[in-house]
C-alpha cells in the first residue's frame, strides 16, 4: 500500500550488537502520528520503569512525522524523545525539539524516525544515505566540538548532508547537554543520552521525495490558505508599530518590520518594510528578530533571517559582529530566542543588557554553547550560577584553589571572556563547578545546599523536584499558563496559549474568537487582570496541551500554531484551527476532522502522562508531580491575588483550577491520574492494564 506523508519505514539501530533493521511505521505507530507520538509509544513498549537515561537499555528516538518534508508551512521540527537526564530523582520521559533541515532530510532519505538503543563499544556515528545505513567509527571525531564533527561528516557524506551531533558535553554525559543540527538548531537535554551510547552524530542525506495524497492544485491552494493566515513569530498578528494597513499594533509584537528597519549588514542592506499581510512574499521580513532578541543595536549587524525547512516565518537570526573576534570566535553567529543563552551568564554588562558588549556576549555564548553542546534548561543554568555566586555558595562548595581559578573578575567586569570559561568548565566537567552546574538544577540545588530563597520568584524555578524553570506560566494567562507548566518533566515548551494571549489583538476580539472554541470568552482574561478560575479556562489549558502534542507529532511548529487568530480584518481576525487536520488529511489521504485529530493528540498526551506515572511510580500526580511554586501565590508581596497589575494567583482558586482541569481531561480529580475509562476512550487500554498491575491506576 502506498504511504503518503509517512515514508512507511523506521530505522532501528542497536549499537551494542551493531544490528540495523527496519520497522514498518504504520503497522505499529499510525495511531501515534510521529515524532513524540512514536517516541512515547516506543518508550512505553520497550523501556520499563527503572531504566536510567544513560543505560544502554534506554532508547533515543529521533523523528518528524507525516508532515515533515512535505512543504507544510512551519513543518520542519524534529523531536528527540528519551528519558530526561536532568529529571530528579528519577529520569523520566521527556523530549527535546530541534528545527532546521535535519528532519526533512531524514524523510527524503526514506525514514520516518530513527530508534537507537544499546551502546557502541567505542565512539561511532551513524551515516544514513537514503536506505544505505552504516555505523561508522567516530574515534577521530570524539573529543571535538559539534562544528568540527559536522564539517568532517559533511566531507564524507557531501555538503548537502544534515548532521545532528553532540559536543564534548554530550560525550562526557553532562546531563545539561544538547543535540545540534544546522549551526543554530538545538534540542535540549538529550545530548548526554547520545553520549551514553557512544553515538557522536547522525548524518543524513536523502535524495528521495515525499508522497502527498492531495492533488497538486488542492495542495497548493491549501498551502496558500495557510500562508494567508500567518502572522509573525509566535503568531503575533499585529505589527509592533502603527502601520498604514494595520488596524491594531502592539509594542511587544515580534512583527517588527517597518520602513526604516533593516537587515543592516546585508549588502546592500535590506529594508524590512511595511509587510502588508496580504503580501505572502514578505512573510519572511515581518520578524526582524535580531532587534527583538538582542536590542536595537543588532540592526546594523543583521545579515538576514533564517529558519527551518518549509517555514516562512524565519525566526532565526544571522548576524555578523566583527568585534566579537577579539574573544577568539567567529564574527558570524546564528540562533534565536533563548538559544542566545550564553549571553545571560553575565548579569551586568558595562553598557547595559542590550548594548554592544552584550551583543558580543551573545556571539561568544552562541559559539561556546553550540559547539560544546551545553544546554541551558531554558536559561536556568545562568540563574543557577548567579544564585550560587551572589549568595556565597560557591565559596563554600569549591576548594580555595578551584574558586581562585575561576575568573570571577571577568564576570564582575561583564566580559564575555567569562562565558568561554564558564561553558568550557561545564562541557568538560572541570572541577566541582563544572560538574555540578552540568548536573541540572534539581541535583545542583541539593548538592550545593541552595536555600529556600532559591525557589522564590527571582530565580524562576517552577518545579523544584524535577528542576525545571517556568516557560510561559502564570505571566502568560494566569491559571491557564500555570496549569500548562505543571504537565511536563521539563519546561513545558508549550506556546499554544501564548499564540492567542500574545497575538496583539484587543481583548474583545480574543474573547470572541476564544468563545468559538471554548464556549465562552471567559476562557481568556486581560493580561495582568486575571479573574477566578472557570471551566472555560480548563478547556483552554487542555486544548493548549493536546495541540502542543499534535504539533510535536505531525510536526508543526508549536512556536507558531495553533492559529486561533490571523492578521486579516476581512476575516474578523479569525484564524483556522482546522489547519492541522486539513494538512494531515491532504498529505496522508487519511481524512480526519479537527476533533478526530485532537483525539489522537489527546492519546499522545495521555501516554506521556502514563509514562510519567510509571516512571515516578506514583499515581498521585496532583501531589507528587503537578507542582506550583509558592512564588506564584506570594509574589509580588504587596499585591492581592487575582488583582489588576499582577500575575499573582490564589491558592484556593488554583486548587479549583486543578479540579476543573483534571475533570476536563477525564482524570481522577483527587490524584490527577487518567482513569481507565479515559485510557480506554483513547485506545490506551493496554496502558491501563499495565498500570493497574503496578497499582498505579487511579480508581474513578
Amino acid at each position: 500500500m502506498s504511504s503518503y506523508g509517512w515514508s512507511g519505514k523506521i530505522l532501528r539501530v542497536d549499537l551494542t550488537t551493531g544490528r540495523i533493521w527496519t520497522e514498518k511505521t504504520l503497522e505499529r505507530y499510525r495511531d501515534y502520528l510521529g515524532a513524540t507520538g512514536i517516541g512515547y509509544k516506543v518508550m512505553w513498549d520497550e523501556v520499563p520503569a527503572g531504566v536510567g537515561a544513560f543505560d544502554p537499555a534506554n532508547r533515543i528516538i529521533f523523528g518528524g512525522g507525516p508532515l515533515i518534508g512535505t512543504g507544510s508551512p512551519c513543518g520542519g521540527r524534529v523531536a528527540i524523545t528519551s528519558l530526561l537526564p536532568t529529571s530528579y530523582p528519577t529520569e523520566v520521559i521527556g523530549s527535546g525539539h530541534m528545527g532546521g533541515h535535519w528532519g526533512s532530510e531524514l524523510k527524503f532519505a526514506g525514514w520516518d524516525a530513527i530508534i537507537v538503543q544499546g551502546k557502541a563499544p567505542s565512539p561511532v556515528w551513524l551515516a544514513v544515505a537514503d536506505d544505505k545505513v552504516e555505523i561508522r567509527d567516530a574515534r577521530s571525531l570524539w573529543g571535538s566540538g559539534i562544528y568540527r564533527a559536522t564539517a568532517e561528516i559533511c566531507q564524507e557524506m557531501g555538503g548537502e548532508a544534515q548532521v545532528a551531533a553532540i559536543g564534548q558535553a554530550g560525550e562526557k554525559l553532562v546531563r545539561m547537554a544538547c543535540v545540534m543540527n544546522g549551526n543554530s538548531h538545538s534540542a535540549g537535554g538529550m545530548g548526554g543520552v547520545m553520549g551514553s551510547k557512544n553515538l557522536k552524530a547522525i548524518g543524513v542525506r536523502g535524495t528521495g521525495s515525499v508522497k502527498i495524497a492531495a492533488k497538486k492544485k488542492e495542495w497548493k491552494s491549501l498551502v496558500n490558505h495557510v500562508l494567508s493566515l500567518a502572522g509573525s513569530n509566535n503568531q503575533w498578528v499585529v505589527p509592533s508599530t502603527p502601520q498604514p494597513w494595520a488596524e491594531f499594533h502592539a509594542t511587544s509584537s515580534r512583527w517588527t518590520a517597518r520602513k526604516g528597519l533593516y537587515w543592516g549588514a546585508a549588502n546592500p542592506p535590506v529594508e524590512t518594510g511595511t509587510c502588508d499581510p496580504h503580501d505572502l512574499n514578505s512573510i519572511g521580513y515581518r520578524c526582524q528578530k535580531a532587534v527583538f532578541d538582542l536590542g536595537p543595536i543588532a540592526e546594523q549587524f543583521t545579515v538576514r533571517m533564517d529558519g527551518c525547512h518549509s517555514c516562512p516565518i524565519r525566526c532565526h537570526i544571522q548576524i555578523s559582529v566583527p568585534s566579537a573576534e577579539k574573544y577568539g570566535v567567529s564574527r558570524y553567529a546564528a540562533n534565536t530566542c533563548v538559544g542566545w543563552w550564553g549571553r545571560n551568564v553575565i548579569k551586568n554588562y558595562p553598557d547595559g543588557p542590550r548594548g554592544m558588549t552584550a551583543l558580543e556576549g551573545a556571539v561568544v555564548g552562541k559559539h561556546m554553547t553550540d559547539d560544546y553542546g551545553v544546554w541551558c534548561n531554558y536559561g536556568q543554568i545562568a540563574r543557577d550560577f548567579q544564585y550560587a555566586y551572589e549568595k556565597g555558595v560557591l565559596k563554600k562548595v569549591l576548594s580555595e584553589a578551584e574558586y581562585k581559578s575561576i575568573p570571577f573578575g571577568l564576570y564582575e567586569k561583564g566580559s564575555p571572556e567569562f562565558i568561554k570559561d564558564f561553558v568550557r568548565r561545564i562541557a568538560f566537567r572541570e572541577g566541582e563547578f563544572g560538574f555540578a552546574l552540568g548536573e541540572g538544577t534539581a541535583r545542583l540545588a541539593r548538592r550545593w545546599g541552595f536555600g529556600r530563597d532559591f525557589f522564590g520568584y527571582e530565580w524562576n524555578v517552577w518545579n523544584e523536584k524535577l528542576g525545571y524553570p517556568k516557560h510561559h506560566s502564570n505571566e502568560n494567562g494566569g491559571q491557564v499558563g500555570t496549569l500548562i507548566n505543571t504537565q511536563y518533566n521539563r519546561d513545558s515548551q508549550c506556546h499554544s496559549h501564548v499564540n492567542l494571549y500574545s497575538c496583539g489583538l484587543p481583548l474583545g476580539i480574543q474573547k470572541r474568537l476564544a468563545a468559538e472554541i471554548f464556549g465562552s470568552g471567559d476562557a481568556i482574561d486581560a493580561y495582568r487582570n486575571y479573574t477566578p478560575m472557570n471551566v472555560y479556562k480548563a478547556k483552554f489549558a487542555k486544548w493548549s496541551l493536546i495541540r502542543k502534542e499534535l504539533h510535536d507529532s505531525l510536526p508543526l511548529c508549536n512556536w507558531m500554531f495553533p492559529w486561533v487568530v490571523s492578521p486579516l480584518k476581512e476575516r474578523g481576525y479569525k484564524g483556522d484551527t482546522s489547519i492541522e487536520s486539513r494538512l494531515y488529511s491532504a498529505v496522508t489521504g487519511d481524512g480526519k476532522s479537527e476533533a478526530e485529530m485532537d483525539l489522537v493528540a489527546e492519546r499522545i498526551f495521555n501516554l506521556h502522562r502514563a509514562l510519567t506515572i510509571r516512571g515516578m511510580k506514583t499515581k498521585d500526580m496532583r501531589k507528587e508531580h503537578d507542582l506550583v511554586p509558592d512564588w506564584v501565590y506570594d509574589y509580588p508581596k504587596d499585591a492581592k491575588p487575582l488583582s489588576p497589575g499582577s500575575d499573582k494567583m490564589d491558592r484556593e482558586d488554583m486548587q479549583r483550577a486543578f479540579d476543573l482541569f483534571y475533570r476536563e481531561c477525564g482524570w481522577d480529580v483527587a490524584t490527577g491520574s487518567p482513569t481507565r475509562e479515559t485510557y480506554r476512550r483513547l485506545g490506551l487500554g493496554y496502558v491501563a492494564d499495565e498500570l493497574e498491575k503496578e497499582g498505579l491506576l487511579a480508581q474513578a
Binding site: 502603527p242 494597513w245 531554558y378 480584518k569 489588576p644
Partner: protein
C-alpha cells in the same frame, strides 16, 4: 463636447485620481487631501470634485478608495484601502487636525479601553503622530492643566520609559503592571 465624450473624460479623470490616491497610500501611507486636486495638473473646481467623489462611490472598481472628513473644517481626504486602513486614516486625520494634547488624549483613551493597555510615550514620535520628543514634556504639562483631560495619567516604568493611561478605563495598578511587563519583565522571562 458630446455627453459621451464628457462622460469618458470624467471616467478617465476619476481613474487617474483613484490611481494617484492608491499610489500615495501604498508608497507613503498618507492621506490625499481632496483640495490637492484643485491645483495643477487637475485644476478641479468644487463641482468637478463632487462629481469625482460620486463617480468613485458608484464604481465598484474604485471601491477601495475611501473618504474621511475633517468635521471641524469640512475638508475631505482620500485614501486607498487596504494600503491604509480606516483606523490608521482616522489617526492620520487626528494627528493632522488636532492639537497634540488632543492627539495624545484620544489615543490613550482608546488604547486603555480597547486592548486594554497603557500607551508608551514613545509611540507619539512615530508615524502617524510624529510629535517632537522635545515638545512632549510641554504637552504633558498642558494636559495636566485641562479639566477635560484629568483622566489622562502618566507614570514611568522601572527603566524610566514614560507611559500614559486613562483612568476611565484602567487602574494605575493594571497600567503599571502591564508597562513593567512590556519594558522589563518580558525580557527577564527568558
Amino acid at each position: 463636447m458630446t455627453d459621451e465624450t464628457e462622460a469618458e473624460q470624467r471616467r478617465i479623470l476619476t481613474a487617474k485620481i483613484a490611481e494617484q490616491v492608491r499610489e500615495e497610500s501604498r508608497s507613503t501611507g498618507r492621506l490625499s487631501p481632496l483640495n490637492a486636486f484643485f491645483q495643477e495638473p487637475y485644476n478641479l473646481n468644487r463641482e468637478d470634485a463632487e462629481e469625482v467623489l460620486r463617480s468613485l462611490a458608484a464604481d465598484q472598481a474604485n471601491a477601495d478608495i475611501r473618504v474621511i472628513r475633517d468635521d471641524k473644517r469640512g475638508d475631505l481626504y482620500l485614501y486607498a484601502s487596504p494600503h491604509v486602513c480606516e483606523a490608521y486614516a482616522a489617526s492620520l486625520l487626528l494627528a493632522k487636525i488636532s492639537d497634540p494634547c488632543d492627539v495624545i488624549a484620544e489615543t490613550v483613551r482608546e488604547e486603555s479601553r480597547l486592548y486594554p493597555r497603557p500607551t508608551c510615550s514613545l509611540l507619539f514620535h512615530l508615524p502617524p503622530y510624529g510629535l517632537s520628543p522635545e515638545a512632549m514634556p510641554s504637552y504633558v504639562r498642558e494636559m495636566g492643566r485641562r479639566e477635560e483631560m484629568r483622566d489622562i495619567k502618566t507614570f514611568e516604568a522601572s527603566n524610566g520609559v514614560s507611559y500614559f493611561y486613562s483612568e476611565r478605563h484602567m487602574s494605575l495598578a493594571h497600567a503599571r503592571g502591564l508597562a513593567e511587563w512590556i519594558e522589563v519583565e518580558q525580557f527577564e522571562n527568558q
